[in-house]
Subunit: 575 residues, 2 copies
C-alpha cells in the first residue's frame, strides 16, 4: 500500500518535505494543501520585489532554472499534488483525516492520511490599533500584498509611508520604499531600539544612526496610537503619542507569530512561544504528525529553551528532515543557534546566538566587548572596518553570541557562519581564540577580528582589560562636572584636533610608545580613560599604567566605535 | 628575579609571543634576535607590493595605525629589545645560552635565557637546478628580495619572467607580474597540476583554465631543467624537457620548508615533515624551549598526523599561546585543520581539511561531490556561481574537507570558515546538512550551497545518487565509439544548441518535469547519462528513472562544472 501523506502549507517546509519524500519513496501519494493559489514562493524576497531589485513577482516563485513553481510544476517535476486555494479547517487525529475547504467555492473535502505534515507558517502580529483594516494598510507576508504595495508606489500615488515595526522586515521595507521610490518613510517601533530581540541596544543604536543618515525617520519607543482614514479613500494619517503625520501607505511589520490554530484545536502540544512542540525528528506530540518551518518551536542549542524563528532557510532544512522521516528514515534536527543576517542600505548587520540582553534573560552572567578591526590585511588596498560584539558567560568562559556590522556583508557572514558552526559545541573563549579563519591579505588580517574578539574577552575575563562603553564615554565627555582625564595614546596627528577641541575638557595626549618614559605626566587623582582608534593600543597603555600602579578604563571599541555610535565628539577629522 | 626570555626570529610568531608576554608580565626581560635588519613584516603581502597594490615596502612593516615596526617601536610600544641583524649560531641547552653573531661585523655574544622561543620560520625549497644563483633569480620570502623584484620590473627591464612552482606564492607572483606589469609569465610546476597538495586535480584544472584565460603560460608536469645566463648579465633563459624560453627574471617559489637547523643541531625532536615537534602548549622536547609558526609541526585535527604549514595567521595565533605560557599560563594549541584561501585574478580559491587525494593517503575511503550553486538567492540581482567539492569518509560519514572556487571570495570564505570551525568536532554529513548558515537573499540561498553539498553526499552515500565526473563525461562525449546516451533534462531553450550540435553523438532532450510521462522514449540498452545545468534536476531525473527500473549516471556539478573545466563541448551558448 502506498504511503498517503497530506501536507498543510506549501510555501517552504511543505514543498521541501514533499519533494524529498517523493525522491526517497516515489510510490508515496502526497497532497499539499495551501489556502493561497500562489504558494511555494520566497517571502524573504518581497522587499527586493517592492524595491525593484526583483523585476517580476514571479521571480519569487521560480526555481533557479526559471520555472514557476505552480501546480503543474509540482505534479510534473516533483510528483506532488497541490490543492490550492484550499484551507485546512480541522484535523481528526483519530480517523486521520483533515477537513479542507475550497476558499472560493466553499466546497469541503476530507483527506485521509497515514502521515500528516503541518507547515502552516506564521502570521503577522496585529497590534491592538484602530484603523488596521483601512485600505492602504498592508502586511507583506504574501505575494498578493507585495503586488498591491508595489502597484501603489509605482503609480506614484504614495509620497509618505509609515512602517509599523523596526524588525528585519520593517526595515527592509522601509529601505525599499525610501531608497528606490524616494518616499518619506516613518518607522514606528514600540521598543526603544531597532531590531529588538536581535541586537543589543548599543549596536542597534549604530544601525539606527545609519538608517537616519540614509533618510529614514525613526520613531523608537513611539508606538502608533491610531491609523486614520476612511474605507473609501483609505489611510490618511498615523498618530503617536505626541505627533501625527499624513501618510498614503502603512506597512504592518510588527513581527510574526506561529500559525498554530489547526494544531492547537487538534490538541497537539504547543510551546510557550506559540510554536508546535516537536521532537528531534520533528514529530509533534502525535507521532504521525510532523511539523516544520515558522510554525514550530525550536530548541535553542545555547539555552536549551524553546524559541520560535521565522526563516525560509530553517524551513527548508527542516522540510528535508521531515521528508526523510516520512519515508521511514530517522533524520534529526537538533536545534538552532539563531543565525541571522540582513542588508540595510550599504551596511550588513548580523548576529548569531544570544545578545547580551538575551543572555541575561536566560540566566547567564554575560560580559561583552566591542571589537573594531579591518576586514582585510591593513596594507591591502580596499578594506573596511568591521564591528563585532562578542558575548561570553563570565563564570564558564562559554561563548554565547556574536553581533556585528560591516560594509562587506559576505565578510561579516564569514565570521558569523564560523561561530554558528561552533556554538552547538559550546566553545569557550579559548577555542575561539585559536579558530582557524582562512587567511590571505584580501580576506582577513593575520590575526582575524574573530580571534581578536576572543582575545579581548580573555583579557577582560582575566581582569587585565577594564573597559568603558562608548555611551558612557560620550556621557562623561559631555558632563562638565565629570572629573575625568581622557588619555589619547594615538600619534599626534590623530590626537591633535581632539586636543584642540577638548583640551579644556580633560583631553590629554601621550602616545602609547612613550608612555613608560613619561609616567610622571599622568595625573593620579582623577578617573583616567585610555583611548585610541580601535582600543588595542590603549589596552597596551592600560597594561603599562597598571604596572606603574595606575588603574584606567579603556574605551571599548576605541574612537571608531564612538564614531559609529553617531554622536560627533569633535568636528569631522582630517583622517 | 625577572624572567629572561630570548626569542629567535622576529617576523610573526616571535613578536607576538614577546608582546603578549610583556603584557602579562611587564617585568620580563625579552630579547628578540633576527638575522635580518628588516623584521616583523607581513611576508604574505609581498605579491601585493610587487603588483603595486601596496605602494610602499614599509606598508608591509607597519601596524594598522601606520607605525613602522622597527627596533624603536618594539622598545617603546612593546617593551621588547631587538637584536638585528644578529644570527643565532647555536644553543647550549645545559647552560641555557644562545650563541649569536652580528651578521655584518661578525661579533659574537652569548645570551642567557630562562625560556627560549624558536620562531625561525621557513626557508625556500631550492630544487636541484643549475643556475639558481644567477642574478635575476629571486625567491620572495623577505622584503629585500621583494624590493629587488619590484625595482627590476618597474624599471621596465623585464619583459618575460619564469616562476618556479605553481603553489600559492608562485601563482600570486605570476599574477602580480602578468596582470599589472604586463609581463609574459611562464609558470613551471613539476607536478601535473597547480596548487598541488591543496586542491584535487579536478578543481586545480579549473583554476589552471582560469589562469590561462588570464594570459599566464602554465607548464604543468614540466619542471625546469636549467637556468642559463651569466654572473655578469644575469639570467637569460630557462629550459625544460622539450623547450626553452628567454626570460629576464626568475621567481623561485617551489615551496618552503621549516627552518630547523638550530633546533636539530641542539638535539630537539624534529617531526618527519621537518617541523619542530611541540606539545599542545607549544613546548618542544625541551620544556624550556617553545616554538611556533612556520618552523613547527602541527597536529592535523583530521588525521592526527604531524604536518607543516606556513601561515602568518597560524604564526600569530601560536605566538599568543606561547606568550601566555611564557608568563606561567597554560594555554593550548590543539592543532590545525588547514584552512586556506587565495585570490587569483577575479576568482577566489580556498580549501579546508583534506582533499580527496590527501584523504586517500591518510587511509580514509573518501567519496566526493562537486556542487555548483548561486552564492545568493537566485532572484537576487547580483550573483555568481560557487563551486564546492566536499570530501567525506564513506564508512563513517565523517566530513573530511572542502575545496572551492568563487567569484565572491568573502562568500567562499563564509563557507570555508564555517567548515573550519566544525572540522575539529568531526562532523558527519548530517550535521553539515543542518548547519545554520546566516540567510538573507543578498547573502545565501534558502538552502545554502554548503547544506546542499552535504545533502548531495548523503544521497551519494545512500546509493541514491550515482555520478560521473565532468572529465569522464567529456571523454565519453568526445569518444565516437562510446555507446552512450546523454539525456539533457533541462528546458528546451537550454538544450536546443546542444541538441543541434551533438544530436549525432547521442544527445537527447527530455525535460525532467515530463520524464515520468515519457518513460517509453528512454533507450534501455545504452549507458545513460542524465544532466542539467548544475546537477539537481538531473538527480531528480535519475530518481524517476530508477523507479522505472532504469539506472543512469548523473553529471557531477552539471554542465556548469564542464564549462568551468574549460573544455567547450559546443559553441558558446546564448544563455
Amino acid at each position: 500500500m502506498a504511503l498517503k501523506v497530506v501536507i498543510i502549507g506549501a510555501v517552504a517546509a511543505g514543498p521541501k518535505a514533499g519533494s524529498r519524500l517523493k525522491r526517497l519513496d516515489p510510490s508515496a501519494e502526497v497532497v499539499m494543501v495551501d489556502r493561497d493559489e500562489i504558494f511555494a514562493y520566497g517571502g524573504c524576497g518581497i522587499p527586493y520585489y517592492v524595491s525593484g531589485d526583483v523585476a517580476e513577482l514571479n521571480g519569487l516563485r521560480t526555481t533557479s532554472f526559471h520555472m514557476v513553481r505552480d501546480r503543474d510544476f509540482f505534479r510534473g517535476a516533483k510528483g506532488l499534488d497541490v490543492l490550492a486555494p484550499w484551507e485546512a479547517l480541522s484535523l481528526d487525529r483519530k480517523r486521520k483525516e483533515v477537513l479542507i475547504r475550497q476558499v472560493q467555492t466553499g466546497q469541503e473535502r476530507r483527506l485521509g492520511y497515514d502521515k500528516l505534515v503541518l507547515a502552516t507558517g506564521s502570521e503577522p502580529v496585529r497590534p491592538p490599533l484602530e484603523g488596521l483594516d483601512l485600505p492602504g494598510v498592508w502586511p507583506v507576508t504574501n505575494l498578493h500584498q507585495a503586488r498591491a504595495v508595489k502597484t501603489a508606489v509605482s503609480r506614484g500615488r504614495v509620497e509618505r509611508a509609515a512602517v509599523i515595526g523596526a524588525g528585519p522586515t520593517g526595515l527592509e521595507m522601509a529601505e525599499a520604499l525610501g531608497d528606490l521610490w524616494g518616499l518619506e518613510v516613518h518607522v514606528f517601533e514600540q521598543t526603544d531600539q531597532v531590531l529588538p530581540g536581535l541586537l543589543d541596544q548599543d549596536l542597534a543604536h549604530c544601525v539606527a544612526h545609519h538608517l537616519e543618515e540614509q533618510g529614514l525617520h525613526l520613531h523608537l519607543g513611539q508606538p502608533l496610537t491610531r491609523i486614520s482614514g476612511s474605507p473609501e479613500k483609505g489611510v490618511r494619517s498615523v498618530a503617536w503619542d505626541g505627533g501625527e503625520v499624513e501618510v498614503d501607505l502603512v506597512i504592518l511589520a510588527a513581527g510574526v507569530r506561529p500559525n498554530n490554530t489547526l494544531a492547537r484545536e487538534a490538541g497537539l502540544e504547543i510551546a510557550a512561544c506559540g510554536g508546535l512542540r516537536v521532537n528531534r525528528h520533528l514529530q509533534t506530540s502525535d507521532p504521525d504528525i510532523f511539523a516544520g518551518g515558522d510554525c514550530v518551536a525550536n530548541r535553542c542549542l545555547i539555552t536549551g529553551r524553546e524559541i520560535c524563528l521565522a526563516s525560509g532557510s530553517l524551513a527548508n532544512r527542516q522540510g528535508r528532515v521531515i521528508g526523510t522521516n516520512l519515508a521511514g528514515g530517522l533524520a534529526s534536527f537538533e536545534g538552532v543557534v539563531g543565525s541571522w543576517i540582513m542588508k540595510l542600505f550599504d551596511t550588513a548587520v548580523a548576529k548569531v546566538g544570544l545578545s547580551q540582553a538575551r543572555a541575561i534573560e536566560a540566566g547567564f552572567d554575560p560580559v561583552s566587548a566591542l571589537v573594531v578591526a579591518s576586514d582585510r590585511a591593513h596594507f591591502y588596498p580596499s578594506q573596511d572596518l568591521m564591528y563585532l560584539k562578542l558575548v561570553v558567560d563570565r563564570p564558564t568562559r562559554r561563548v554565547l553570541g556574536l553581533q556585528g556590522l560591516a560594509g562587506a556583508g559576505d565578510a561579516l557572514a564569514a565570521r558569523i557562519n564560523a561561530l554558528a558552526a561552533l556554538l552547538p559545541h559550546q566553545p569557550t573563549v579559548d577555542e575561539l581564540s585559536n579558530l582557524e579563519i582562512a587567511y590571505a591579505p584580501p580576506f582577513a588580517q593575520a590575526m582575524d577580528i574573530l580571534n581578536a574578539a576572543a582575545n579581548t574577552l580573555d583579557n577582560l575575563l582575566a581582569g587585565r582589560l577594564r573597559t568603558i562603553s562608548p555611551q558612557e564615554f560620550t556621557r562623561l565627555l559631555h558632563d562638565p562636572g565629570a572629573d575625568v582625564v581622557f588619555l589619547d595614546v594615538r600619534g599626534l596627528q590623530n590626537a591633535k584636533p581632539y586636543l584642540e577641541a577638548l583640551g579644556q575638557r580633560g583631553w590629554r595626549h601621550l602616545p602609547q610608545e612613550s608612555l613608560a618614559e613619561r609616567l610622571d605626566e599622568i595625573p593620579r587623582d582623577k578617573t583616567l580613560i585610555t583611548m585610541c582608534n580601535a582600543g588595542s593600543r590603549s589596552y597596551e597603555a592600560q597594561v603599562t599604567l597598571r604596572a606603574a600602579g595606575i588603574e584606567t578604563l579603556n574605551l571599548d571599541g576605541g574612537l571608531a566605535a564612538v564614531k559609529k555610535w553617531g554622536e560627533p565628539i569633535i568636528p569631522p577629522e582630517p583622517d
